[in-house]
């Protein structure tokens, strides 16, 4: 590797922890080359980015797949620019790939700016501390959807596989079968839709499957006089 490349490699290694992703690397390179986003020379940036990827590989540093995706995107972009297609990539065309890259970078730069704005605000628990409170339980008024989902997630972590199997479908066929059996303990004949408590399609499908299963094990007989007419379940 040439001396310049080695140099760059070290520079990147020093900077590596602060890169948040491939777009962050590109912004760094653009700034280092004193380009502006509006007046961007793509080819040198592409080359330097690829050199970065290469040096990371040489050093056996694991790169997130996004960095490699970006590399292949940039190679494609560079080939577009080098091919003598006669098309002018001057930034005026909406489908212009350079323009697309610029927009990505502008959006990312805006977000980087916004996150540094956020970080510069006096943050609670970092710069300002609220009057202490010993409450650890969740106040009802502050409950969020996230709390609910996380509760389920923690549950899953505790009881493993079984939970998700059960939770995956809100309508278990076994439960509907139990319901049908309950109904048939007082009536000899019920309508299939009596076993459905909601109006949801998934539950109706579940009820139908439950009926088929019960018919298979000879618990019920299924009766339907005409196509699309009412389906009855009769106790056997």
């Amino acid at each position: 590797m040439n001396p310049e490349g080695t140099n760059m490699m070290h520079e990147f290694v020093l900077h590596l922890p602060s890169f948040e992703g491939p777009l962050d690397v590109l912004l760094y390179l653009i700034e280092k080359n004193r380009f502006t986003l509006e007046d961007l020379e793509v080819c040198p940036i592409v080359d330097q980015y690829l050199a970065y990827i290469e040096s990371m590989r040489t050093l056996d540093i694991a790169l997130a797949s996004e960095f490699l995706d970006m590399a292949s995107y940039l190679i494609w972009l560079k080939s577009c620019l080098l091919l003598p297609t006669g098309e002018v990539l001057d930034g005026s065309d909406a489908n212009n790939p350079v323009q697309e890259l610029k927009e990505m970078l502008i959006a990312y730069r805006a977000i980087k700016q916004a996150s540094s704005d956020l970080s510069s605000r006096p943050m609670l628990f970092r710069d300002r501390f609220p009057r202490g409170t010993a409450h650890t339980e969740q106040s009802l008024a502050a409950l969020s959807m996230g709390n609910l989902l996380q509760a389920l997630h923690e549950l899953k972590g505790r009881t493993r596989k079984y939970v998700m199997d059960v939770l995956a479908s809100r309508f278990s066929i076994h439960e509907i079968m139990a319901r049908i059996q309950g109904l048939l303990s007082t009536n000899n004949k019920i309508r299939l839709e009596d076993a459905v408590t909601s109006r949801e399609r998934m539950e109706l499908i579940g009820a139908f499957m439950a009926a088929l299963e019960m018919s298979r094990v000879a618990l019920v007989r299924i009766l339907q006089r005409r196509v699309f007419s009412v389906i009855y379940l009769v106790k056997r």
Partner: protein
Amino acid sequence: MDTREIIEALIFSAAGALASREILKVVPDISEGDIADAVSELNGIYKDSGRTFRIERASAGYMYVTLERYAPFLRSLHNPSRLSPAALEVLAVIAYRCPCTKQTVDTIRGVDSSSSLKSLLKHQLIDVKPGKPMRYVTTERFLEVFGLTSLSDLPDLGQFEELFGSE
């Protein structure tokens, strides 16, 4: 910066009582006696400027309390009802699986859920569906609390697990 003020800020921001040794860790070169002096000076300042709180010495350390004469107002302050992590779990199971029996909840959670069910019933977040076996459903109040218009608004569990399950 005045040591006394640092001590004030420390006790102020602590959850519950703050032990002297915690203060000594943060503010070096002072003694227990210095802390006691600072606290009594602070209480003097509060008294003179008509403040409604004081720092009190409790067995576990120093803590802020409001003066007794304000208690009637504080008592009438709506005491926010709280939900334990267990109750939240039960609620989540019922939301995604309703109507369901206590047995289903217990099986999924691997523990008995009686007290959580009671607390959720009390908070009117769940209700009992008529019929046998006894089954639980979430209520209108549940929808209100979580800003849902119906249960079908519940986020997709699979998508959430994709995010959280990637460990």
